[in-house]
């Protein structure tokens, strides 16, 4: 450990931590020295360029920038001398000379204006220089470089904090200027609109467009603010809503959003979390309960703006009665197995818990599932089987300690953008980033190895890597002996998988496979991240088993910088799964078939429970077609868009005798409903969510819900009461209190604590402990504490390309659109950046067809056909295409293959055979 430093600050003897700057010590001592280019926030390096923080150091010829200068023992620093103050004022006066008039300020609340005022520098004696024009080409941000002071905070924001590498400081001297790419308009640059630069800008040169007028005037003025959690991906960024009353409507609005200091995001956000909140105010919001008009055909046949074409408005009383009665009737007529429910990973833990409790105790079966089935069911199955726990063993922020980082089958810059910033930072620091994905992606540029293997060939590649580790004895013998079982069996199994034999199958050369195997195995700390490229296959569980084996044989779990981390897709897919929205398990993954565990829940809930696992998402759809399921309650899910072979799924929805859908918009699924119940959007309610890092976090209500919309927990409770359950929860905190009785994972995590601390990681050993980031240092969660090696065989994807359907179709997401687009397509910025569907195709294939990028093609599979515009993107290889599934006009899931992984029951979204035909 380095020693503390003792020095004199303004005549007082003070101590500094090693690495602490004079500015930081002074602040600690109660003196805030003026600063512009220094941002006192995590991730921002001091750059010392603005020179507004100059101080005098005794014995030195010139002044020192206190933000970048660290004290040494015995140093005498004076912050308030005439000389230092004069220099600081002159710096401000030089800058003020070229600023817009205060009345025209882009940010009336800017740090720059605050300091100018505090230092009493209102006017400048210097002649003004020529200033640049505004750039309003981006839909989210206004660029007014006439206020820019070249402090380069935005450059650091873009390059060092987010590592998006779009902003640069070009030219030199007084010509130097902030540029996007090659001095392109921001809206035409490679900017991904994370908005970090806007959050960092101290002058208003970069502003959210929502708070400047058309002349660029505005300010970060809010009536109030509320800290909460981003509702999009599983990263779980903490945010602050800045709320202002709209003078025209009189309603409170989210004027803009800033990142808050969460453990998963340290103030960072992505385009969705920063600019994707206006969906809550979209005119298509459902504000009244709706009851289906008689004789209206069920289908994707409603303009979501005009639901009254097929529905009539009803009171809550009536709608709830109709909804509950329909469910009750089916239960009574066809039995309890004739009902099923889909909960949602987009709702809170409390809502998920209530929903599964409703299905289990009210419907009377375990037919409850949610979209985890479609994303990581196979990963969870493998993790449960091999290490006894379905959650991550380490948070993604653990990469700060990693030497080797493997990212396989995941595209985090689009799907987990803030997690990706940590990966990119680690790579910049010097960690080896090994990316394995059939598609190229933005991480490729930061990777030391990019293994673009053949789609679906995961097992062959991973077995070959493990073969090398075994053959070259790079495994951790001691770790294997004391922490695992089944290695001998796996070792035998791997004999047939030499890299030389596998290279033709996976498309990666044997030497590359060997290099990567050696790097992963011999590094001090290696960590693995994976996404749906691994899980969404008919062999998804096998893929995950291989990754687990890889970590087990090398001992790369349980230590800082090591671990296994399936990147969870939705904001609360971890929490919804934990809360029991899974047909085989009660909350905390307690098996429904286990008598002892079931007895515990029967006790807690005061009713008999079904000992048989229920049906999964796709099985439920099939059961509807088989006339076994007659009624459903769907909360916040959109299977009409998200299920494989969507036409088949839509057919099922149409076939139901009774469908209750609870959502905030007239989703494609709601179009099939008999009763639609308008719910509250995330910023309109309280509740906790659990992110991919196992961090349980508090979401808070910031706005009132529009019209008669109600919180999901309330609606579920009203249905429950109407089907005979005597529920009487007063709100989410009551539900959370009950959950604590059901779920040991919530030990030491209370509602009050979350209100206070915003976020606590589970497992949490004590009420004052932040929770355990890295688990399984000593033993795994299996009954005997040992990790299990489960060998995996190479199985081809279910549907191979042939002469009729020669392309491989992959589906997934794009940065701006999340899940089925229900929220993101109704957000102005997200919609503007990605308004219409495209199919990504390699330029070689495009030229083969003799078409141009932007032209429309017909993509068809054995299940359906869509028409869609082509986007030229060589991230996909010739012979492959990629379609995001968020667009109803060209719904990718009309094409996908519903075949399931036998264990995880997850469909093969990442591989099916397709045909592409140009349209005249």
């Amino acid at each position: 450990m380095l020693d503390k430093i003792t020095f004199t600050l303004d005549g007082k003897e003070v101590t500094a931590e090693p690495g602490e700057s004079i500015w930081q010590v002074a602040k600690r001592q109660g003196t805030t020295i003026p600063h512009l280019c220094w941002k006192d926030a995590p991730g921002y390096r001091a750059d010392g360029n603005c020179r507004a923080c100059m101080v005098e150091v005794e014995g030195e010829r010139v002044l020192a920038a206190s933000c970048v200068r660290t004290p040494t023992n015995g140093m005498k620093v004076k912050t308030q001398t005439e000389r230092a103050q004069t220099a600081r004022r002159m710096v401000m006066e030089l800058l003020v000379a070229d600023q817009p008039k205060v009345a025209d300020a882009h940010d009336s609340q800017s740090d720059f204006l605050k300091w100018a005022k505090a230092m009493n520098v209102k006017v400048s004696r210097f002649p003004k220089a020529k200033r640049p024009k505004a750039d309003i080409s981006h839909s989210a941000m206004a660029v007014n470089l006439d206020a820019c002071i070249n402090c380069n905070l935005c450059v650091r924001a873009c390059r060092e904090v987010q590592v998006n590498d779009v902003i640069g400081m070009a030219a030199r001297g007084h010509d130097s200027k902030i540029v996007f790419d090659f001095d392109d308009p921001m809206g035409q640059s490679s900017c991904v609109a994370c908005g970090e630069c806007v959050q960092a800008c101290p002058t208003g040169a970069l502003m959210p467009k929502t708070i400047v007028d058309d002349k660029g005037r505005g300010g970060r003025v809010a009536d109030r603010e509320v800290q909460s959690i981003c509702p999009y991906c599983g990263v779980g960024c903490q945010i602050v809503y800045k709320i202002k009353k709209n003078k025209k409507t009189g309603r409170d609005e989210i004027a803009w959003v800033e990142g808050a200091g969460g453990r998963a995001n340290e103030n960072r956000l992505c385009v969705k979390g920063r600019f994707g909140f206006d969906y809550v105010a979209n005119p298509e919001r459902l504000t009244k309960p709706l009851i289906r008009l008689p004789n209206k055909e069920k289908g994707i046949n409603i303009d979501p703006m005009k639901p009254l074409s097929h529905f009539r408005e009803a009171t809550w009383e009536e709608a709830l009665d109709v909804a509950a009665k329909g469910l009750k009737n089916i239960r009574e007529t066809h039995g309890r197995k004739a009902l099923a429910g889909f909960g949602s990973a987009k709702c809170s833990n409390e809502e998920a818990y209530l929903f599964q409790k409703l299905v289990r105790t009210g419907f009377g079966s375990n037919n409850v599932d949610h979209c985890t089935r479609l994303c990581h069911a196979s990963s969870v199955a493998a993790l449960m089987e091999c290490i006894g726990s379905g959650a991550v063993t380490a948070p993604f922020t653990a990469v700060k300690d990693s030497d080797v980082i493997v990212v396989i089958g995941a595209n985090p810059t689009e799907n987990h953008p803030v997690a990706a910033t940590y990966f990119k930072q680690a790579a910049k620091r010097g960690a080896e980033l090994i990316v394995m994905d059939p598609r190229g992606q933005a991480l490729k540029r930061h990777a030391s190895h990019m293994l673009q293997f053949k789609s679906g060939a995961d097992v062959s590649m991973l077995n070959a890597i493990m073969h090398v580790i075994v053959e070259e004895k790079l495994y951790d013998e001691q770790y294997i002996q004391s922490h695992t079982e089944g290695f001998k069996n796996l070792r035998e199994h791997l004999k047939g998988y030499s890299p030389e034999a596998m290279e033709v199958i996976c498309g990666i050369s044997a030497s590359e496979l060997r290099t990567v195997a050696r790097k992963y195995a011999t590094a001090g700390r290696s960590i693995i991240f994976w996404g749906m490229g691994v899980s969404q296959h008919t062999h998804g569980t096998d893929n995950a088993r291989c990754l687990i084996s890889l970590a087990l044989m090398t001992g790369h779990t349980g230590r800082p910088g090591t671990g296994l981390h399936p990147l969870r897709g939705q904001n609360n897919v971890q929490g919804a799964s934990d809360a029991g929205l899974i047909p085989m398990v009660f909350p905390d993954y307690m098996k429904v078939g286990n008598d002892k565990l079931r007895a515990h829940f029967e006790d807690l809930w005061g009713t008999k429970l079904d000992p048989n696992p229920g049906l999964t998402v796709v099985e439920i759809v099939n059961a509807i077609h088989a006339d076994e399921i007659k009624g459903m309650y769907i909360l916040g899910e959109n299977p009409a868009m998200s299920d494989p072979d969507a036409n088949h799924a839509r057919g099922a929805l149409a076939k139901l005798d009774h469908l209750v859908v609870q959502d905030i918009f007239m989703t494609e699924t709601a179009m099939f409903a008999d009763v639609v119940l308008p719910a509250t959007a995330w910023p309109e309610k309280d509740g906790t969510v659990s992110n991919t890092n196992r961090q349980v976090q508090m979401g808070r209500r910031a706005l009132t819900a529009p019209g008669d919309a109600k919180p999901d927990w309330w609606i579920t409770q009203e249905i429950a009461r109407r089907i005979g359950l005597g529920w009487n929860y007063g709100g989410p905190s009551d539900v959370f209190a009950e959950m604590k009785k059901a779920m040991p994972s919530l030990d030491n995590i209370s509602w009050d604590r979350l209100q206070r601390e915003h976020s606590v990681t589970y497992p949490c050993p004590a009420p004052d402990h932040p929770g355990e980031d890295i688990v399984f240092a000593d033993r795994f969660a299996t009954p005997d504490g040992l990790g299990k090696f489960v060998p995996a065989n190479v199985l081809p994807p279910n549907e191979q390309p042939d002469s009729k359907f020669p392309f491989i179709l992959m589906t997934g997401r794009v940065l701006e659109h999340w899940h089925t687009g229900a929220m993101t397509r109704r957000s102005h910025v997200l919609d503007q950046v990605q308004p219409t569907p495209t199919v990504q195709m390699n330029t070689l294939d495009i030229s083969k067809f003799g078409i141009e990028p932007g032209d429309k093609v017909r993509v068809s599979t054995r299940r359906g056909a869509i028409e869609i515009a082509v986007r030229a993107d060589n991230a996909v290889r010739p012979g492959s295409i990629f379609i995001p599934f968020a667009f109803v006009e060209a719904s990718a899931n009309e094409l996908t293959n519903p075949q399931l992984d036998p264990i995880g029951k997850i469909p093969e979204f990442k591989y099916c055979a397709a045909r592409v035909e140009p349209l005249a």
Binding site: C50, L94, G173, H174, F180, I300, A869
Partner: protein, 569 residues
């Protein structure tokens, strides 16, 4: 298959905004790499390392081949080097010798004439040359102004492509342009064999054979009083000590970015006796056990680059150095890269922004390793000092001033040039050594150390010009670039020239220098100066700028206000 939902003709209505009619981009975000441009770049970089620090070298390859840097080529280079487009663009636009041409802009004409307009050349009529050229230049010629080319002894100077010429006239330049006379002219210089015959590389061999330890050599250099002749005057032996105190690997960098207007001594030594320089350099590398040596040579010296490339190859062939041990790096037109930490940034392939001190480059230098940085002339004297002994060097000096100095003298003297004489020479002595003042000119004042060193009046012509002597007069000797001014020179014009230079050459990193220079140029253009504001500005620039450029930039202003006040009030 159930087609219940699809048999209806209803076309799904997209959620959200359906009035806009905007379509998604047919490409991913940002500028796409064009296959043909990528092919060009791949061809140029074939067999070459793609390491980040080679960015400027690779930009030169493209600029040399195509005469400019098109957006397409820059995007391809970024792709090939796995860099962000912004990273490439900001570097390319920082250096004046790169012509970035964005989409929709015109490429520059085939030939570029750069006319030096730094002080000595301006005094010799550069503005007239410039004007005549602009009037007469054909379409295939572009005329630009440029800072000092190290040809002040033959002012006015200009370059056509890589052909740098002194004593230019518009006619001479236009003829050269017509003849496409754009290649550097290799000078006559002492060959390896001639240098060895005269006893060259003997000292290096002895040191490498272990006849003396680095500590012995440090002691000898300190005794001799050899100091950094790039302008800082730091004792060379001391520098070695500091660098050696750091853990290896260590590097050595040669600062060959002689850019202080009026300075041309390094050019002289490199052009005449490259091997004496190279031996001195290798002595330094030996002294700190350098893993590799990087010579950073200004782009204005292409003839010297040819010489060094050739002679480094000779050293490799002769086994004096391992192949690849010495890297020759090209500047790209940026005075600031003469500042040692900016130079290191530039060698690393980045914009030449000076770093904050501490840490000093001796501790954290090239690639964040301890680095010995020496100026060309500093190492040039090392073989002689170590061969002949410290006392020999001391004897070159005079009372109170150890060793010799190479004064680059230009301006209003009859025979401008490098005067090698005892340290502590005076301006009057140097005028004398240069054949006296030009006819019709009366000595009025002088720049003792280029623009940074301020201006002294003729009445101070008898001050000894050495390190540490002039500071009390608000001046310093720096690189010993002495520019003699006469009664024909107006001090407002002189100081404007100097400040324009600083304005052009400021890296732009810190406020006092970036904004200060720009405002100062405007303020001193006034007939009557606002001396109060200029004084305040000068103080802030000196107190608060990051590096020597901004700290010294107001020196000419202060000098004029102090010694030539009448001319601006």
């Amino acid at each position: 298959m159930d087609t219940h939902a699809t048999k209806k003709k209803f076309k799904p209505v997209r959620p959200g905004d359906r009035k806009g009619g905007k379509k998604s981009r047919p490409f991913p975000k940002g500028r796409q790499v064009q296959p043909s441009a990528l092919k060009d770049v791949q061809k140029l970089l074939k067999g070459k390392s793609l390491a980040r620090d080679l960015l400027i070298e690779h930009l030169h390859l493209i600029q040399d081949k195509f005469g400019h840097l098109s957006a397409a080529h820059l995007a391809a280079l970024a792709e090939e080097m796995k860099l962000a487009q912004a990273e490439v663009y900001e570097v390319a636009t920082f250096y004046h010798h790169f012509d970035v041409v964005r989409e929709g802009e015109n490429a520059p004409p085939e030939i570029t004439i750069r006319v030096c307009d730094s002080l000595s050349c301006e005094m010799a009529g550069a503005d007239k040359v410039m004007k005549a050229l602009k009037d007469k230049a054909p379409k295939y010629v572009r005329v630009k102004h440029a800072p000092c080319m190290g040809l002040c002894d033959r002012a006015p100077a200009a370059s056509i492509g890589k052909n740098y010429m002194g004593d230019v006239t518009p006619a001479k330049l236009l003829k050269a342009a017509k003849d496409r006379d754009v290649k550097p002219v290799r000078p006559r210089y002492q060959s390896y064999d001639a240098y060895v015959k005269a006893g060259g590389y003997k000292v290096l061999k002895e040191l490498r054979a272990g006849k003396r330890t680095p500590d012995d050599v440090i002691a000898e250099l300190l005794e001799a009083g050899l100091r950094g002749l790039g302008g800082a005057g730091f004792p060379s032996g001391q520098k070695w000590k500091f660098v050696r105190a750091g853990q290896g690997p260590r590097y050595m960098c040669i600062n060959g970015d002689e850019g202080e207007p009026g300075t041309f001594k390094d050019r002289l030594y490199l052009m005449s006796k490259p091997h004496q320089f190279l031996e001195g350099m290798l002595i330094g590398a030996w002294g700190v056990d350098a893993t590799a040596v990087y010579i950073y040579l200004r782009d204005e010296y292409p003839a010297i680059r040819d010489v060094l490339l050739k002679e480094i190859a000779v050293l490799e062939k002769k086994g004096v150095i391992q192949p690849g041990y010495v890297h020759l790096r090209r500047g790209a037109g940026a005075y600031i890269c003469g500042e040692e930490s900016a130079m290191i940034e530039s060698i690393e392939g980045k914009r030449g922004l000076p770093r904050h001190r501490p840490p000093y480059v001796a501790q954290v230098g090239l690639f964040d390793r301890p680095t010995l940085v020496h100026n060309v002339e500093t190492v040039y004297w090392m073989p002689e000092i170590l061969g002949k002994g410290a006392q020999w060097f001391i004897a070159q000096g005079r009372e109170g001033h150890k060793g010799n100095r190479s004064y680059s003298v230009s301006g209003r003297v009859k025979k401008p040039g490098v005067v090698l004489t005892a340290a502590g020479a005076t301006a009057l002595e140097l005028i004398e050594a240069c054949g006296g003042m030009l006819d019709g000119h009366t000595f009025k004042g002088y720049l003792p150390g280029g623009p940074s060193g301020g201006i002294l009046p003729a009445s101070m012509g008898d001050l000894p010009l050495d390190f540490g002597q002039l500071e009390k007069y608000g001046s310093f000797v720096g690189s010993h670039a002495v520019v003699i001014l006469s009664d024909k020179d107006h001090m407002r014009k002189v100081s404007s020239n100097l400040l324009r230079f600083f304005e052009d050459e400021s890296c732009g990193q810190c406020t006092p220098c970036r904004v200060g220079c720009e405002k100062a140029v405007k303020l001193i253009a006034e007939k009557k100066w606002n001396t109060k504001l200029l004084s305040e500005l000068s103080t802030a620039m000196t107190d608060a700028s990051i590096c020597g450029l901004g700290q010294a930039a107001p020196n000419p202003i202060r000098s004029v206000m102090k010694y030539f006040k009448k001319e601006v009030s």
